[in-house]
């Protein structure tokens, strides 16, 4: 903008009006908006399409961030519900590669560690295959394992029942079975009741319950759980636990973790695997986060492409509207006011795209979270950052066309059709 130098003192040849004040009035903010929207109103389809470019980029970024935050919130919710103080002790392999066995007393020994709050266990019943009925060919085991389970298992792993009841002091000595969620699906067991029976180790067991998926003990999803006594009596179970689930005082997690292997299997601590399932969940989340970063990059590229679209629209708009620019200059518009007009148009375009994109991204997040039954979280910083980014893009995209429009000489602009 040219400087506002004072008018040099002049001979006044003319009549009284020579004293006219020649300071151009400022445009009111509402008028800036109004004049900036002229191009959008006269070419709505073009405005829509170039705003769409921005909207897609923003929607992608908000959607990616929203879905990843929502899944993170779901994990936090899960973990706080399940507790992060579960340590799993499972029998690994011997040095020679065979399946190792933990001693029968492992559970009792671990219970004696001070900060251990509770211990429960399952023991895999070797050679006990699970089938829907006697008609199923023997080879089709469906990857289901039969486990003997302690009665306090559910509390320890934070499992809940989808249907029916858990084993109790009455049923654990009789042929009653509780199926993991995947097991029920594979066997095609829908209802629970005295009539629903499956074959465990060649004997008929009545299905008394079905579990929900167990986040902290996924091995239970493909399990058929029977009582400890009935397994020993009828299925030839040797009584050795396969997996121990210990709830530990949070403050002593590390200390307990260090001694668990030695306590569970003093003779061969190396044959025991100790893990913290909540860590595994969090690690999976971290892997997802890396993928989120990639998707975010794709969204950013889409946003930049959208910005280029806006710049393109603005350049064409300025070329097409030279006549209008000339007219406005003749009506008293300063260069600054022409520049403001086109900058406002570009900002409006990208702001419309940005707001639309945020809405779409939020809708996608809410929809997906609802579908997954997650809490929906749309990070505020992503929304604010996204809108700020669109405004920056709008300003950058509009700056050059606006400067070109302002530099146009009025006569040249008026001469063009």
């Amino acid at each position: 903008m040219a400087g506002r130098e004072e008018v040099t003192p002049r001979r006044a040849p003319g009549p009284p009006q020579a004293g006219r004040d020649l300071t151009p009035p400022r445009l009111r903010p509402r008028d800036v908006l109004r004049v900036g929207a002229v191009g959008l109103r006269t070419r709505p389809l073009r405005a829509f399409l170039s705003a769409l470019g921005i909207a897609i980029g923003i929607a992608a970024m908000i959607g990616v961030l929203g879905i990843s935050s929502s899944s993170g919130a779901e994990l936090d919710r899960q973990l706080s519900a399940l507790g992060t103080n579960l340590l799993t002790v499972s029998s690994g392999q011997t040095l020679s590669g065979e399946e190792a066995k933990m001693p029968v007393e492992a559970e009792a020994m671990i219970e004696r560690i001070g900060p251990v709050l509770s211990v429960s266990s399952v023991g895999q019943v070797q050679d006990a295959k699970v089938y829907r009925s006697e008609e199923i060919p023997e080879a089709r085991t469906g990857g289901i394992s039969a486990y003997a389970a302690r009665l306090d298992l559910l509390d320890s792993v934070g499992a809940t029942l989808r249907a029916g009841t858990w084993l109790n002091a009455a049923t654990h000595a009789y042929p009653a079975v509780v199926l993991g969620s995947a097991t029920a699906e594979r066997l095609g067991v829908g209802a629970v009741g005295p009539d629903t029976q499956v074959l465990v180790g060649g004997r008929r067991f009545t299905v008394v319950g079905v579990l929900e998926p167990v986040a902290l003990a996924v091995e239970l999803d493909t399990a058929a759980l029977v009582g400890w006594p009935v397994a020993e009596e009828r299925l030839g179970f040797d009584g050795h636990p396969t997996v121990l689930y210990t709830r530990v005082d949070e403050r002593h997690m590390d200390a307990v973790r260090d001694v668990l292997a030695g306590t569970g299997n003093p003779e061969a601590p190396n044959e025991v695997d100790v893990s913290r399932p909540s860590d595994a969940l969090a690690a999976k989340q971290a892997t997802d986060q890396a993928f989120t970063g990639l998707l975010l990059g794709v969204g950013a590229v889409a946003l930049i492409v959208g910005g280029v679209g806006v710049a393109n629209t603005m350049v064409i708009s300025v070329l097409e509207r030279r006549g209008e620019i000339g007219l406005r200059r003749s009506l008293g518009a300063t260069r600054g006011q022409i520049r403001t007009q086109f900058l406002a148009e570009s900002l409006l375009l990208s702001a419309i795209g940005g707001v639309g994109g945020v809405c779409v991204g939020a809708a996608v997040t809410v929809g997906y979270a609802a579908y997954e039954e997650w809490p929906s979280v749309i990070p505020a910083e992503a929304t604010v950052g996204g809108l700020a980014a669109t405004l920056v893009i709008g300003a950058v995209a509009g700056l050059y066309p606006a400067i070109r429009a302002a530099r146009l000489s009025p006569t040249e602009a008026l001469a063009s059709p």
């Binding site: 008018v7 009006q17 020649l22 300071t23 009035p25 007219l327 518009a333 260069r335 600054g336």
Partner: protein, 223 residues
Amino acid sequence: MIELSRVSKVYPGGVTALDDVSLEIRRGEMVAIAGPSGSGKSTMLNTIGTLDRPTSGTVRVDGHDVATLSDNRLSALRGTGIGFVFQQFHLAANVPALENVADGLLYSGLPRAERRRRARAALERVGLAHRMDHEPHELSGGERQRVAIARAVAGDPPLLLADEPTGALDSASGAGVMELLRELHASGTTVLIITHDPEIAGRLPRQVRMRDGRIVADHAGAA
């Protein structure tokens, strides 16, 4: 009102559009600037209208030496002191006549309600009270030019510059527009009309004839 003294305009490439022109137009005059195309009359209008600066010489409009004014001040001078009427009307499509006229006052600093009020008055003045809400494509050529004239005079500028105002009109509409310009002149506005049509020029009180960038004749007309 307007004072050109020894004004020349040479375009890049060496075309001399105005060659040492001096001219004075007093407040309240109605003047035709006539000449064939290429005679420099459009350049003259752009120079007087402060849309273009001369290569040499002095231009005074409404008491201001154009050469000493910044671009911003020139804009303000155009906004408040000069109304422009163009051959191609330059109306915004799909915008009602009233808004087209009110838009002409956008750079005056007036609030929108006042702009619309003045636009209404200007449209009444040019005889289009019944066409305020019509868009340009719903108006005849003559009516469009009247809307453009209303826009030019809505801010009550002391000087009206018309560049071939009847050039795109049939003779009946053209006569109507000329009649309107004469009425504006009668109410005190200084009116300057550029035309290549000797007949139109001949009916105005004063005619300046141009050829090859020079004034070849300057005399009172038949009116």
